[in-house]
C-alpha cells in the first residue's frame, strides 16, 4: 500500500468488532436485511393490487388508460438514470475521484427532485379531475365498480414510494456532504455504498410500479 493511500480516511472500528472488514460486512448485511423489510413493506400493497386487479380487471385497465403514460415513462427514465449516477458516484469514490463522486451525487439529487416534480404535476391533474382515492373518488370518465379502488392503490403505492424518494434524497444529501468532506475513499466507502443500496431499492420498486400502474 502506498503511503499516500495509507493516509486516506478509514472507517472507525468499534470496540466489539475484530476487524474493519468484519465491521463493514456487518453493516452491509444489516443494510440488506433492512432492504428486505422494505421489500416486504411494499409487498403488502402489491398484494392488495393483485387481488383487486384480479377482481376488477376492466376498471383497472380503464383507469390505467387515464394516467399519463408519458409522465410515467419519463419518470422511469429519470429514476433509472439517477440509479445509474449513484452507482457511478460510488465507483468514483472508491477510485478516489472525489470531485466526480460529488457531481454524480448532486446529479442524483437533482434527478430525484425532477421525479418528484413530475409526480406533483400528475397528482395535480388527478386532483383537478377528482380522480381521487376512496370516498373522494368522483372521476367523471370512469364509473365502473373498482375504479375508486384503482386510485386508492395508485395513490398509496406512489405515495409510499414518494416518501421513500424523499427519505432517499435526505440520505443522499447527507452523503453528498460527507463525500465532499472526503470521508469516502478506496479504503472506506461503506457508508456511501449503503446509501446507494437504499436508492437502488427505490428504483427497484418503481420498475414494478411503472408497468403495473401505467401499462395495463
Amino acid at each position: 500500500m502506498s503511503p499516500e493511500a495509507a493516509s486516506l480516511p478509514e472507517g472507525i472500528l468499534a470496540h466489539h468488532f475484530a476487524s474493519l472488514e468484519r465491521q463493514n460486512e456487518a453493516m452491509r448485511l444489516g443494510m440488506w436485511l433492512f432492504l428486505a423489510t422494505e421489500i416486504l413493506l411494499f409487498a403488502g400493497l402489491f398484494t392488495g393490487y393483485s387481488v383487486y386487479r384480479f377482481e376488477f380487471p376492466l376498471a383497472f385497465a380503464e383507469c390505467s388508460r387515464h394516467l399519463s403514460l408519458t409522465a410515467g415513462t419519463v419518470n422511469t427514465i429519470v429514476l433509472i438514470t439517477s440509479s445509474f449516477t449513484v452507482a457511478l458516484s460510488i465507483h468514483f469514490a472508491r477510485t478516489d475521484q472525489r470531485r466526480a463522486a460529488v457531481v454524480c451525487l448532486a446529479l442524483t439529487i437533482l434527478l430525484a427532485l425532477g421525479f418528484l416534480g413530475i409526480k406533483a404535476i400528475e397528482y395535480t391533474a388527478h386532483f383537478r379531475e377528482h380522480a381521487l382515492p376512496g370516498k373522494y373518488y368522483a372521476f367523471e370518465e370512469v364509473k365502473i365498480p373498482g375504479a375508486a379502488m384503482f386510485y386508492t392503490l395508485y395513490f398509496m403505492m406512489t405515495g409510499l414510494h414518494g416518501l421513500h424518494v424523499v427519505a432517499g434524497m435526505s440520505v443522499l444529501t447527507w452523503l453528498l456532504w460527507r463525500t465532499n468532506q472526503g470521508r469516502y475513499s478506496s479504503r472506506y466507502y461503506t457508508g456511501l455504498e449503503l446509501g446507494g443500496l437504499y436508492w437502488h431499492l427505490v428504483d427497484l420498486v418503481w420498475i414494478f410500479l411503472y408497468p403495473l400502474l401505467y401499462l395495463i
Binding site: 370516498k135 364509473k143 365498480p145 373498482g146 375508486a148
Partner: protein
C-alpha cells in the same frame, strides 16, 4: 360411548347431520391429545425420579439419538396429523358444499340482529324457522361489519361479510329451538346479537308458511328484536334508545335510513334539512330539541306535520338522552356504495 364423551367434553346436543361426524373426529383428536401430553409429562417425571442428581460433581455421558429415533419423532406425529387432516377436510368439504336440493334462506347480519328472508315468503327478525330433515342453505351477507352465524348444536359457523355473500348449509335432525350466536366480534352488542333457529316438524313448517302467506307484510312474524332484550346499559345513548322506543318515536322514525312517517334519524345530526317553506336548517342540538317540543314550527319538506308535541311529556334529561341517541346514529363508512350488492348464485349443479 358417544353420549358419555359428549357430556364429558361439554359438547352441546347433536342436532344436525354434521354433528355426530364432527364429534367423532373430535373425540379421536382430543383423546390423542390427552394421551400424548400425559405421556410426555409422565416420562419427564419418570426421568426425574430415575435420574436424580446424586452428587454435585456428577458428570454424564454424551448421548446422541439414533437416526431411527429421530425418524420416529417425526413420523408418529406426522402420521397422526395427516390423518386428522384428511378426516377433517373430507367433512369440511361436505360442509362447504350445499346439496343441490337445499331450500334457500337469505340471511342478513346487522348490528345487532339477524334478518331472515325466504324466497317468495315471509321475512323475520332473529327467528329462523326451518323444517326438520330438510337441507337448508343460508346465503348470507352483512349490512355493516363482519358477523358470524353460529349454531353450536348444528356445529356450523360461517362469517357474514359486508359487500359480498357467503354460504353455509345444514340439515336439522331434531325439532326444537336452538340459539344462534354471533361469533365474530362486532361491537358493543356482539354478545347479545342472538337469535333462534326453530326447527319444526315438516308439516308444522308447511302450516306456518301457509299462514304467513295469508297475512299482511307488516304483521308477518313480528318478532322482538335483539335490542328489546338488551338491558339498559346506563349511558346516554342507550337511555335515548330506550326512551325512543317507550315514547313511540320509532313508530314514525327509522334508524336505518329508510323513510317512514317521519324522516329517518340515521345521519340526521348536522344534516342540512330542507323545510317545506324552502329554507334550510342545520339539524343541530337546538333544532332537534325544538322539533320535539314544537314540531309544527319547522316541517321537513315532503312530510306531513303529524308529529305530536312532546312538550311536557319529556323531562330535560330525557330530551338530552334522545338527542345523544340521535347523534349516535351516524352511518358507518360501510354503506351501499358505488359497487352494487352481490349477486345471487344458484348452487352449482342445480
Amino acid at each position: 360411548m358417544n353420549e358419555v364423551l359428549r357430556r364429558l367434553l361439554f359438547l352441546p346436543d347433536q342436532a344436525s347431520t354434521f354433528a355426530r361426524d364432527v364429534d367423532r373426529l373430535h373425540y379421536f383428536v382430543i383423546i390423542t391429545t390427552f394421551i400424548m401430553s400425559t405421556a410426555v409429562g409422565l416420562t419427564a417425571i419418570f426421568f426425574f425420579v430415575r435420574y436424580r442428581r446424586r452428587s454435585e460433581t456428577q458428570t454424564t455421558p454424551h448421548i446422541e439419538p439414533a437416526l431411527w429415533m429421530e425418524a420416529l419423532f417425526v413420523g408418529t406425529p406426522l402420521i397422526f396429523f395427516t390423518l386428522w387432516f384428511f378426516l377433517g377436510f373430507r367433512e369440511f368439504v361436505r360442509q362447504q358444499t350445499p346439496p343441490s336440493d337445499s331450500m334457500d334462506v337469505y340471511v342478513m347480519g346487522k348490528k345487532w340482529m339477524w334478518k331472515f328472508a325466504y324466497p317468495d315468503g315471509p321475512n323475520s327478525i332473529n327467528v329462523l324457522r326451518v323444517p326438520a330433515g330438510r337441507n337448508v342453505r343460508l346465503l348470507m351477507t352483512s349490512r355493516d361489519v363482519i358477523h358470524s352465524f353460529y349454531v353450536p348444536e348444528f356445529r356450523i359457523k360461517q362469517d357474514v361479510l359486508p359487500g359480498r355473500y357467503t354460504q353455509t348449509w345444514f340439515n336439522a335432525t331434531m325439532p326444537g329451538r336452538y340459539q344462534i350466536l354471533c361469533a365474530e366480534y362486532c361491537g358493543a352488542g356482539h354478545s347479545i346479537m342472538r337469535g333462534e333457529v326453530i326447527v319444526l316438524k315438516p308439516q308444522e313448517y308447511e302450516n306456518w308458511l301457509a299462514f304467513q302467506h295469508r297475512g299482511l307484510v307488516a304483521t308477518q312474524d313480528a318478532q322482538p328484536t335483539a335490542l328489546d332484550f338488551a338491558p339498559p346499559l346506563g349511558n346516554m345513548v342507550d337511555q335515548g334508545r330506550r326512551i325512543a322506543a317507550e315514547q313511540g318515536c320509532l313508530k314514525c322514525h327509522t334508524t336505518d335510513g329508510t323513510r317512514h312517517i317521519g324522516p329517518t334519524w340515521l345521519d340526521l345530526y348536522l344534516r342540512r334539512e330542507r323545510l317545506n317553506d324552502g329554507s334550510i336548517v342545520v339539524a343541530d342540538e337546538a333544532y332537534l330539541t325544538e322539533s320535539m317540543m314544537d314540531p309544527a314550527l319547522k316541517v321537513v319538506e315532503g312530510f306531513q306535520p303529524v308529529m305530536p308535541s312532546f312538550q311536557g311529556k319529556l323531562a330535560g334529561p330525557e330530551v338530552a338522552a334522545l338527542v345523544e341517541y340521535i347523534k349516535s346514529l351516524q352511518s358507518d363508512a360501510v354503506r351501499i356504495g358505488p359497487s352494487e350488492g352481490p349477486a345471487y348464485a344458484p348452487i352449482r349443479g342445480r
